[in-house]
Amino acid sequence: MNDIFVNIENLSIGYFNKRGMLIHVLKNVSLQIKPGETLGLVGESGCGKSTLGQAMMGYLRSGSRVLGGSIHFSGQDMFALSVRQLESIRGNKIALIPQNAGKSLTPTMRVGKQIIEAIQLNADISKDLAKRQMLDLLSKVRLPHPEVMSERYPHELSGGQQQRVVVAMALAGKPEMLILDEPTTGLDVTTQAHILELLRDIVTELGTAMMYISHDLGVIARVSHRVALMYAGEIVEDAPVTEIFRSPAHPYARGLLESIPRLTLAGIPNSMPGQPPIPGTLPGCSFAPRCSFATDICSSEPPEFDTISQAPHLVRCHHWKKVVTTDFSQELVRVYQAVEHKIEEDPAIELSDVEITYHRPGLIDRLSRTPTPTATVSDFTLTVRRGETLALVGESGSGKSTIVKTISGLLSAKSGCIRFAACDLMVKVDDRPMDLCRQVQLIFQNPDASLNPRHTVAEILDQPLKLYFPKMTRDERRERQIELLERVRLDGRYRLRYPGQMSGGEKQRVAIARAFAAEPEVVLCDEVTSALDVSVQAAVLDLLADLQKERNTTYIYIAHDLAVVRAIADRVVVLYQGRICEVGTVDEIYSPPYHPYTETLMGAVLVPDPDAKPKLLASDTPELSPPAQGCAFQRRCPKCIPNLCVTVTPPWQYAHGVDGYKIRCHIPLHELLVDQVN
């Protein structure tokens, strides 16, 4: 028993709702974590992952209660401890790293001081010693120039740096266990990869046990030794990381793995229909309604844990033997369906020499002739063909959203020309004719923010209909609403719901329906799937592809996830600091030669494969503004030619004529190719 560090036995947590009904959040959860082991906890949103993480800190959300079971932390029963004892354990022995690092730091206090506070809370030592420890911690989390960084306020740090500070704070109490609740969600791929490497190193160096909560299987594959898969408040599979990714035994594990878009495969993956039920509401297996292996026994009898191997590999499924024998890798290839649609020759949107800047010179700037800072987006020339899906790829701050907002007229460009058919798109939305507004529609990243919480779905869909088709009668609009909902594969009865009564995927469908209500020619999609679960993401991508086929709509698709882009795009534009690095078809972009920046991005992508290791650059800090001259990527480029790249703007290099693949780099194409193939 000595090698078990955390022992969770039959833990059930629930709360009573307003009508006095008992709602389970966790049901009979049993887990063990050994010292120094990293357990990955995976599942869709609403499966109870965070509740379990918080329960391990001895914390329950108000209103919920422990219905049974226990959590033992190195032999101590967490629920039997007094508040005092819990306080001494938290931070000192177990530390939690939350999702949004920026919000968990005090904004008005220098980060160094916040870490010193955390150190002194757990150990009674002098200020000088604490300060030395603080600097030590900051260099341990690999923040450059700890002395300088410790004097900064949280808002002066980038998202990745903030997350590093939070990790340093968590390590301040020298905890024996770290609980990480989606700590890298919302960070750029490169930053995320670096943070994960840091966490891996810390675990091996300090022997800290970790529980890593995430919905991203790529991340889980990279950090965990063992993976527990959660569904509707239950653990359905518990296995070593290699086994669960190589031979998943639960149909849910398979479904999740199948629904992830891959870098190496074009086309849209299979989606998992439906959503998790409220735990404890189904008599049999909770996954049965969504399972392709389900038989009668699944809907009547709940499955018990079965041992597959002594690793240990446990699974809660009636049919796991059948699941394991069905070849998984074969299926994976089969489920990816290529997107077929027609791309016309004539352009939908043409952008030439567009320059966009947020800087507005004030009176004093103009009088003193202060040099204007470099533009956010500059020298942007691009033709989007009718019916094609063009993806804009880049890290945050690369100007993707700025370009899309300019096309939709929410921002105005400083110079250049944007045209749509015969219309000028350089004017802001207030001055555009209504029919032009109708033809260019926007879908946002987060449906929670883009749908008005006080409107029903009917009212939400009514707005574009009323605005663009004023002649429609009330009954016609009602019919259109139902038709639109059916086109996004929602039931007509959803008309009467409020956004708060729908899941994330359903809300995003409504947002898509709202955009298509206008019967647009061009739809601008701003990270439309990044706030959704993988299982839902595949379904939304599939829906977008279907809608495109109906009217040959043009998509401009913003994404930072390269695998998603691979799944849906025809052509890709790689952007860095508002400058185009590389333009080409998906196949051209996803095979060498790469622009050095594209190579960096590709290297940082986490593949759902425990053996894959991201290729990272030694120092990779995001920049806030582009350099004044030369190549935009010069400061981070591993292949930077010292004098040339810093001073001269790189030339375009074409592979197949002016309209085809092009790359903007000083290094000749063949040299890049030779370098990258090896």
């Binding site: 007229g409 939305v429 555009r432 529609q441 926007l442 929602l490 039931d491 009865r493 708060g500 709202r514």
Partner: protein
């Protein structure tokens, strides 16, 4: 199409409930809120029906029975002109209720819409208007009320508009602050990108989200206005005598406080029960709307 079928099975679980029904449900659970609401309703009923059932004519003077302490004939005694205090107290809220209720509606409407518009527009227009609002709010309210009423007279409609305007200014601030929480949301951006008219965004997108704040602010404003109106009456700028009015009654009878305290207690009890009622209701109403909690998805 498998997905459509999947979804179609589920809606039975969640019944669509309007926010109004949800709020009423929450409000009913709060005993303080229900006490407050009952006090308000009782006052409204008294104000509407009292002329028909009060035992004496509130205007009838009788010098023979002046300054009487409470008895079975006169429940709250009589004032120094021999008028029945109970009857006067019951009828005495009619004018102030009419004035303050109408003024509250005006204040919430004009202040709310102006505040939302300023919050939405931002920039220079917002900056300039808000400085005027700040300047206006820095003058003591009683002074402003006295100033306007002494210039424009004491007719009822003047008072309604004076109160509506004055108290609406503070609503501008509240509405603007509440709007700023919502104006950065993507649904406002989505509406702008659609090409919606500014006024449509204010009334259709922003107003429903700010309405809860406005309603609670309106309820609080109502109680402040009652105090304000009573103060004006007390100072002689409200209802002209001999009309029964709480503020006027207190002013007239304060000299006989030692002999016949009920001539002052009567209107004070009426006024304070109404104001306590409004405050209890406003507090519970704010809680029922979820203003003091984070707004999560209904479970």
């Amino acid at each position: 199409m498998a997905i459509t079928a999947q979804v179609a099975e589920q809606p039975a679980i969640i019944k669509s409930r309007s926010p109004l029904a949800e709020t009423w449900d929450n409000l009913r659970r709060s005993s303080a809120g229900m006490i407050g609401l009952s006090l308000i309703v009782i006052h409204l009923i008294i104000a509407l029906t009292s002329p028909y059932w009060v035992p004496y004519d509130p205007l009838e003077m009788n010098a023979k029975i002046a300054n009487q302490t409470p008895s079975l004939e006169h429940l709250m005694g009589t004032d120094k002109l021999g008028r029945d205090v109970f009857s006067r107290s019951m009828v005495g809220g009619r004018v102030s209720l009419v004035v303050t209720i109408l003024a509250t509606i005006i204040a919430v409407t004009w202040g709310g819409l102006t505040g939302i518009l300023l919050g939405f527009l931002g920039g220079r227009a917002d900056e300039i208007c808000m400085r005027f609002v700040d300047a206006f709010l820095s003058i003591p309210w009683l002074l402003i009320l006295l100033l306007i009423v002494s210039i424009l007279g004491t007719e009822m409609w003047v008072q309604i508009f004076t109160f509506g305007f004055t108290y609406g200014v503070s609503t501008i601030r509240i509405a603007r602050a509440a709007t700023l929480d919502h104006v950065t949301n993507d649904y406002i951006l989505a509406a702008r990108a659609r090409g919606e008219h500014k006024w449509t965004i204010v009334t259709r997108e922003l107003l429903p989200n700010v309405l809860d704040v406005l309603l609670v602010d309106g309820a609080m404003n109502w109680s402040w206005m009652l105090l304000g109106f009573t103060s004006l009456s007390f100072l002689g700028f409200g209802v002209p005598p001999p009309t029964p009015d709480w503020g006027l009654m207190i002013a007239q009878n304060r000299q006989i406080l030692a002999i016949q305290p009920w001539a002052v207690f009567g209107p004070v009890i009426m006024l304070s029960t109404l104001i306590i009622g409004i405050n209890l209701f406003a507090d519970a109403f704010a809680k029922a709307l979820g203003l003091d909690r984070s707004q999560g998805a209904p479970v």
